[in-house]
Symmetry: C2
Subunit: 365 residues, 2 copies
């Protein structure tokens, strides 16, 4: 806490005689004019500050909480590495170094094996379905249960929608073409292609361009046109393959330190959860709007060649994905519960999506 | 304003000496413990109270605003007909009889010709695209401009996702089968089928079952499995056709009396808009989750026969839809602006959706 805030708080508390009591205390709090406690929260993120889509979503969340709470919570956002390294966000919020984090659950597989299911798994749910499962299908309750021992409360807080399969300098016509392919693809997607003979590698986004240009890797996935265009990957890759089977609708998460969250009055708890849901809506809208125009630029201005993954390749990837998810479920009882819940949702959802969203997209030509 | 509230407000204000001043005044306001103004807002809706999806969305919005504001705004919801008839919601909020409304913009075509574009038009945007266009593509700005002369501020506040084409007691194999068809289908969808020789009629939801049973109509659309199952339409119709070309992603709206909204402090304005966005997210999740299970019940328990509209029929409906929208645009300069904005969004969006959502739904089999 800053000494200035302490003094301000004491001054305001002294003036606000007769109103609700507020005395300066732990947790970066001073007092509002009405005598309420004023909290200065830090938000650490796994993205660079204001990275399009992901980082702007984090910034929007901070801004909404600050404004909707009338400044009773002011949130300061730290990009990855500014306060803690990107992949220490989970631990930092867990121990209270920061009250808030904005990140993606699949980064925390090493801490909780079921975590990826709350972001995206290969051939899993798309964005609309993730929201259905999390908010109305029991998913969020399981997620809270998983994170509670880490002193964290999770909220869905953004989605990119279906991503792209990635940028390739080798044609993928049959499953055999995956053999020996060096591809940057982290997480479960990487495990899936490894099972089909490819060599997955992990590299930070900033190194993708050079790695593709030098031929150190043959292929890389990143996000979708909105983010990929900014990285210039079209200048170092021949083909842009779709669809993004490895990340069909990744949910981004806001994580809140549970001690800090539990200490909030009920209205501020509601503000935090409601602002997260609002960002969940707006971020997908941002990707939906920006991917459109970025795709047009890639194709019309830069002559990018779009290619669908052949259905035989998709079928092999799907089988390998199912194997890996089943093995994860067999190895961990909590993963098993989460996987069953998600799969039950997915089976019935497929039937409905086929005659609604899919049939409509097809019908409009 | 109730006399009781006035008295309570005066009492609290007297106690809260030294805190922010609050004196009872117009607009249903009394005072909070902190000395702030306390507003009692009415929300009128076009749906029955707690009607699944639409009405529960309105109730959620009221609840979120009440809780997130710590009771500085308490919202009481009135179902259609309880305070004003369903189709007087727009006027009632416009003149301040109620501060809030929850409804659908396409009901207000008679007041503002462009209104349907902010809900759904035949062969228009799906839910994800509506959010993209409204929130990140200029749509919301146009909507605000349209409603400002009515003293209303609109917010997207829910979406049903793609609906069904409806329940039919006649097979639709060719465009000729539409000739003479008596179908309950209101709004622009009705105008489209009329152009192909059918006779659209409008009936309230509560009368659909009897009208189908008696043969007074041959077909009816309503919403989608979640709502249709509750009406028992499967007991009086042979075929359940898809997809809902007439309502591919209807946005529900929260409308706020502009005078009341402008009088709010900035934090409460932010709470109202943020809660609307949160409901925008949750309602689609509710339909996504519930349609799944309702569809399974309809097919497995009630033996409902699902049928796709033939592509020749969809093509004819699409042409007629485009004609009608173009004619509307030619007749009204504001409709023209809105139609161009939406169409520009749609053209680029089709290309992106085809290789993302559609390709993925296809790929997962």
């Amino acid at each position: 806490m800053k000494r200035r805030n302490l003094l301000q708080g004491a001054g305001i508390a002294a003036l606000a005689a007769g109103a609700a009591a507020c005395a300066p205390r732990s947790g970066g709090a001073d007092c509002t004019e009405g005598g309420g406690e004023k909290r200065h929260w830090k938000m650490v993120t796994t993205w660079p500050s204001n990275f399009p889509g992901l980082g702007t979503g984090a910034a929007l969340f901070a801004d909404l909480v600050t404004k909707a709470s009338g400044g009773r919570i002011t949130v300061k956002v730290y990009g990855g590495g500014e306060l803690v390294p990107p992949f220490e966000v989970f631990d930092a919020v867990s121990r209270g170094t920061a009250e808030l984090g904005h990140c993606a659950a699949y980064y925390w597989k090493g801490k909780a094996a079921a975590a990826p299911f709350f972001c995206s798994v290969p051939f899993g749910l798309n964005a609309q379905e993730m929201n259905g499962w999390l908010l109305q299908g029991g998913g969020l309750e399981l997620w809270r249960e998983l994170y509670a021992p880490f002193n964290l409360v999770p909220f869905p807080c953004g989605n990119t929608g279906v991503q792209m399969a990635g940028w390739f300098n080798r044609e993928i016509n049959t499953v055999a073409d995956l053999r020996g392919l060096k591809m940057r693809i982290p997480g479960l997607g990487g495990e899936v292609i490894a099972r089909l003979g490819a060599t997955p590698v992990n590299l930070p986004g900033a190194e993708l361009f050079t790695a593709m240009q030098s031929g150190a890797i043959d292929a890389t996935e990143w996000v979708s046109p909105y983010n990929d265009l900014a990285f210039g990957l079209h200048r170092v890759a021949k083909y842009y393959y779709y669809p993004g089977w490895q990340e069909p609708g990744p949910t981004l998460e806001a994580i809140v330190n549970k001690t800090a969250y539990d200490a909030l009055p009920a209205d501020l708890q509601e503000i935090v959860s409601t602002c997260a849901l609002a960002v969940n809506d707006v971020m997908l809208a941002e990707y939906t709007a920006r991917n459109r125009t970025a795709l047009e630029q890639l194709v019309d201005e830069h002559g990018v060649e779009l290619r669908p993954l052949p259905s035989s390749v998709l079928a092999a990837l799907r089988r390998a994905s199912e194997e890996i998810l089943s093995e994860m479920a067999a190895a961990d009882p909590f993963v098993d519960r989460v996987y069953r819940s998600m799969r039950e949702f997915a089976i019935r959802s497929k039937a409905w999506q086929a005659i609604s969203e899919e049939a409509y997209l097809d019908a409009r030509g």
